[in-house]
Symmetry: C2
Subunit: 303 residues, 2 copies
């Protein structure tokens, strides 16, 4: 009989260290414990570790001890200032380790963290968590990673305990860049939804009645994005389905309806301005995707 070495290995889960036990770090730790990973934790305020220690986590007495406990350390703290404040005193433990940094930050900060980590002999993977703490541990939720592909591949199975791990590329800044871009999409969508909700709730419709229609509509909108993405890559925006000029006529209905109900119109006015600038730049008969030209070239379009 063969011994199924892969099955044996899968049954023995890698040990992991988690530094930072805010609501997100605590959720990451809980997800690792749920999947059977022996997990060491550290947090500046040790009392936050209490509920996790009850579930089996081991509390380290210092960041250095925490980093030394596992080959892989996941860091999720408030910002990069906190990250260096925690890791600087632990730098002697970093040699030969892997640091997965899930702290929110800018692409530039990710680049700096690679340099810092490598100077201490550790490998670095940057990540972005595309969910809220209650979503951690669900395979539906995306975790974005960038940096060394070899490190990602080696630890992919462990990272899968946190959510669905997507590898974006070798440039360590990509996860932060995608994170910023996707958060911008989220805030735009949420603000557009809130503006529409303000409009319909002014007419005795409940948000809970409007929102299922809005959510279903987002599926159609997602289809438009999928149609428009190749137009953006080609720099050619055929307006077969709906031209900017037609949409410019419709945006006034929104502005007037909101204005007469006393609702802030700065968002639809901005959208109208973007469409107007696209039309002025010669894209009136093109699709909405051509608005990217004025976003990429604000000075030119304004002049």
């Amino acid at each position: 009989m063969n011994i199924d070495r892969a099955a044996v290995k899968a049954a023995v889960k890698d040990t992991v260290t988690v530094i930072g036990l805010g609501s997100m770090g605590s959720a990451l730790t809980a997800a690792l414990l749920d999947r059977g990973h022996p997990t060491t934790v550290w947090n500046r305020s040790p009392h936050k570790a209490g509920p996790l220690v009850e579930r089996g986590a081991r509390l380290a007495s210092s960041p250095a001890e925490a980093v030394a406990a596992s080959a892989l350390t996941v860091v999720c703290v408030l910002d990069y200032e906190s990250l260096y404040a925690v890791l600087d005193p632990a730098d002697g433990s970093l040699a030969g380790k892997v640091l997965v940094n899930l702290t929110s930050g800018s692409p530039q900060q990710a680049h700096e963290a690679v340099v810092w980590t490598r100077s201490h002999g550790a490998e670095y993977l940057d990540g972005a968590i595309m969910t809220t703490p209650p979503g951690v541990g669900s395979a539906e939720m995306m975790f974005l990673y960038s940096g060394s592909e070899a490190v990602f591949t080696a630890h992919r199975q462990t990272l899968a305990a946190l959510g669905d791990p997507l590898y974006l590329g070798a440039d360590p800044a990509l996860a932060s860049l995608y994170d910023a871009a996707l958060l911008g999409l989220m805030w735009s969508t949420m603000t557009g939804w809130l503006h529409g909700t303000a409009l319909v709730t002014a007419e005795k419709t409940e948000a809970t009645a409007f929102t299922p229609v809005a959510v279903r509509w987002l599926t159609a909108v997602a289809g438009f994005l999928t149609t428009y993405a190749p137009q953006v890559d080609a720099g050619h925006y055929p307006g077969d389905d709906a031209t900017i000029d037609v949409q410019l006529a419709a945006v006034d209905h929104l502005i007037h309806a909101a204005e007469s109900r006393g609702i802030d119109n700065s968002l639809p006015e901005l959208l109208k301005s973007a469409m107007s600038r696209a039309t002025a730049a010669g894209h009136g008969a093109d699709s909405y995707a051509s608005v990217i030209e004025v976003l990429r070239n604000p000075a030119g379009a304004a002049g």
Copy 2:
């Protein structure tokens, strides 16, 4: 043996008239013909009827003749000015008929159209088409209706040839109001996506690589909207998952990343301003849903 009267009735499809054969009106007519509805059409430029007549449509010689041909007339013209220009000369044919108006317009224009239609002895249903012409005929696509529920119910099966018919309520302005709100959501989402696409494509990522991630992220965002809708109805916005203050810190990463790549930042600056106003109004520890308070009360929040 019983005669299955329902089956016999279903096999004999109601005749329908379509007025206006732009790209949308032509798609509506094609969908009706595809489902076996005898369809009469009229358009100011009769040559547009050619391809539809080849597929079995009957071309009327006047709007009055077109309206007289069917119990149900669907109108989809450029705007309400065009609507009255076409239907005024046909007003003698309207008595006892049903007018389904899919022309884009404002809630106020829908109210005026009910009065006008009733003054000619016809019933009125207002509608909004939540797809582009290629999506017409798909049961996945939403067609929103408001006005007489009895009229909607009587013609629901015929309207289902065009898309999935959703009835919003007796106020005839609701379809236009939802339409405006949903288009605002669409433009907000598309512009947020284009801004994010401008950001990642500045770093040699293709729009077609970023967009599947963005589309998947929209599913998570839709989950947030579903979480936040009851908060809006309750006027209480617990920030358990993510507070405005935390998101205000993150929006600067987006603004700096876009600024350093020469991308127009008016959209993220507006989003930051909305969040800042919410924080100033005491919602810093609340969820993003609390931004609706500053949208509803722009003067108060600005003062």
